[in-house]
Amino acid sequence: MSKHHLGEFEEIVMLTVAILADEAYGVAIIDEMESRLNRKVSIGALQTVLRRLEKKGYLSSQFGEATNMRGGKRKRYFSLTTYGKNVLTEVKEQRLSLWEAIPNFSLNK
């Protein structure tokens, strides 16, 4: 598992892409993260992570249609690959197993 290491920010980005399903492009991801997590994200930080995840094979992307908005530039929609989904699931299960291993009293204190 350790070879599929996911950073905290990477994990959040992947989750957000999953939430947005077919609407996951740059600005939408940022907006979603800002509204859900109350967290400021710069385009630079997000784009770097998106490209990195794509290179690792966790995400895939394709261009949408060109519109009049955005200076006529196309959007790039990101989606999780199967491999990405597996990795995300694994991360989740690891967390859960850790949570379950906590003895009750230590959280109730």
Binding site: G26, I43, G44, R51, M69, R74
Partner: protein, 884 residues
Amino acid sequence: MNPSDILTPPHWPSRFLRWYCHPDYLEDIEGDLIERFETDLAIKGPKVARWNYTKDVFRLFRPGIIRPLSGNNQLNHYGMFKNYIKVGVRNILRQKAFSVINIAGLAIGIACCLLILLYVNDELSYDRYNKNFDRIYRILHTYRSAENPGSLPPPSPEDFQVWGSAPVGPALQADFPEIESYFRFTSPSQLLFQYGSKRFQEDNMVFADSTAFQIFSWNLISGNPKTALKEPNSIVLTLSTAMKYFGYDDPMGKTITIDQTETFVVTGVMGDVPSNTHFTFDGLISMTTFHNWRPEIFDSWGYVDFYTYFLLKENSRIESLEGKIPDFIEHNGPDWYKTDNTIAFEPLSSAYLHSKASRQPGTTGSYTNIYIFSFIAGFILLIACINFMNLSTARSMERAKEIGVRKAIGAQRHSLIVQFLLESIMLTMLAALLALILVAFVLPFTRELSGKALYFSDLLSWPFIALFTGSVIFVGLIAGSYPAWVLARFKSSQVLKGRLKSSSGGISLRKALVVFQFALSMSLIVGTAVVFSQLKHLHTLDMGFTKDQMLVIDFGWDSKVQEQIASIKTELGKHPKVSMVSTSRAVPGAFLPDAGTRIESASGEMTMHNPGIYEIDQDFIPTYEIELIAGRAFSDDFPSDTTQALLINEAAAKLYGYTNAEDVIGKKFTQWGREGTVVGVVKDFNYKSLHSKVEPLSIRYAPTGALRRFSLKVAPEGMVTTLADLEQLWSQLVPHRPFIYSFLDDSFNRQYDADIRFGQIFTVFSSLAILIACLGLFGLTTYTTALKTKEIGIRKVLGASLFSIVTLLSKDYIKLFLIAVLIGIPVSWFAMNSWLDNFAYKMEIGPGVFIVAASICLLIALSTISWQSVHSALRNPVDSLKDE
């Protein structure tokens, strides 16, 4: 700003983004940015929107977004260059033997050039550390005798000497406001230094004016630069001398006893004189001390013992001073002027390498050697480049298919040329890297060879790195130019059809290059042989005196020794192994002064000349076995000899106009306050080095106070015990002075150290040049033999002998070699004859040298060739024939 512009994203950040952003990502990222901008514009207004946009663009400038350096859809040749490099590397790796030959040859060539560069750089750096380098001049003097002033032709540069009189400096400063200050120092004095129990003879202490630190940028570690040399009996020591006496104690203010009578106070410690200074000393004694000792010489224009340097004021021109010299001489030294003496100025920049004047305060460099070594280094590099050219063109067939394919798919000639040049530059770079490593390893050993300390760190300066990179690329271009041109000329149709079977390209040039290499190697061998035979020739030359088994004891004019010189001499002579003892001021090879001497000419007038002067006792001539050709030597039988007799040598007799030595006997002379008659003429003996002819010499009986050395003729057997005995005896006779001795032949031969060093450097470089040439020849024969594998196989099957095959493979090269010898002989003869002109006594270059050099060369070449040819001739023909 246009109002509509406000509603669009700012222009410059967008352009910046488009410049750096990865082209694959640009569209959607820019879209995102514009979307953000539009939202911001609606909610927060144009100002904030534009600011956020700019901020975002800059925050996007990070790895992962920035385009890779080797962009792939740009209009440039990155991709092609990458391919060239890849193919180049593969070629280097595939042809390991050839690559090793090429790279090793080039690396050695470059390393030689680097070493020479370091050496030359050091030679050229002399005295440049002085802040006032451009403003320091020194005074040259010429001492000539003329009946009427101005009757002699103007002096040539060789007529001048650096050594001069004391009053010139102060007089110049008084007359010329352009001179800021002057600095004089004396020739080194030999003084016995004592501090506590430490006692050494110091041979390199000079008396110096207090302006030393004002003019020269020597590093005074402690002491006041203005006052350190002001007071009498003060001394500034160099660091290593100070360490010798005081260790880690502070020497400042301590007193040193000199010659057992005078006490000196250490008023300063300076860093050792930098090695790139044209003169050196171990300590400076204040000039005022010398003034107190001998005040009269400071007004005497005729007493010569000073080197005078001066500092010109800024914005003054030396030319304006030079024009006023005659006036200055006439006005200051009228008597002096009448004898046609004069002075000249020499800039500090000329002192080390360019000065032709005699009596230099230190060793001088040789511009000729710089040229010779630079040439040799250049030749070595050239030979290595030729190897590269030869091997690449010879092996061009192996690249022919590649070139054919490249041309077929659209490569142009110039791009092929670029490819091959790039390959050769790559190879040169590798060689350069190796050369740097080589130099770093070899440098510590070059100290012996070059006689100076060279440091690798000298190579680490920006100008040097730029020069180095530039030269490496240049060498790569030179070496690669011809092969690139040949290779790019192939016609793809022919190559691909397989019509081009053998590489006819550049065979004649290749031959010419091989001839050139061997002519060069041959000349270098001749050079080495000549240098060493000449040195041997000097050794075996009859010097006119005996220098073997001559033990010289130096007591440095010690007054106590001189007082009891007769008894010490007798005691030393009593040792059974000592057959003769004599005392004198100078011995052959050591320094001697000149003396103005008048001798009666045949017509009865007194003629004035400046021969050298030897001051000796009556035993000197028999001890050194110097031959007399007329008259007699000094003798106890003539008591007047001690004050009224003079011996001269043949050269001096000729100088005074006597071709027949007998005629000068009995003529009157005056010299240094002594009058009398010439009693004898000695055969010319070589009292200086054999670089110069024997110069006129006068020999007189030494007055008290003028003696400095004992010469002992010692039997060769049991030298060690003899030395121990003598030292024991010396410590009884002269307890206060160390026993300082040398063997005359050692110290005499030391004069040829520079020549021997020259010979050694020459040998090393010649060997390297020949080694590289052989590497190239080896590569070339390997290749040509490989081409003939089948032919050899068939010949063997048909019954050819080993010998006939080896002959077949070698005869082409032997022809080339003979041509090389024919070219090499006249070239080397001419070059070495001009080198021999440095010597007054030169050997004859006979045919023997050339025969030996040619045979060595042929032997090396043949063994290189036969290595391959014998190997392939011995192979079983089945191996070479079965694969078809």
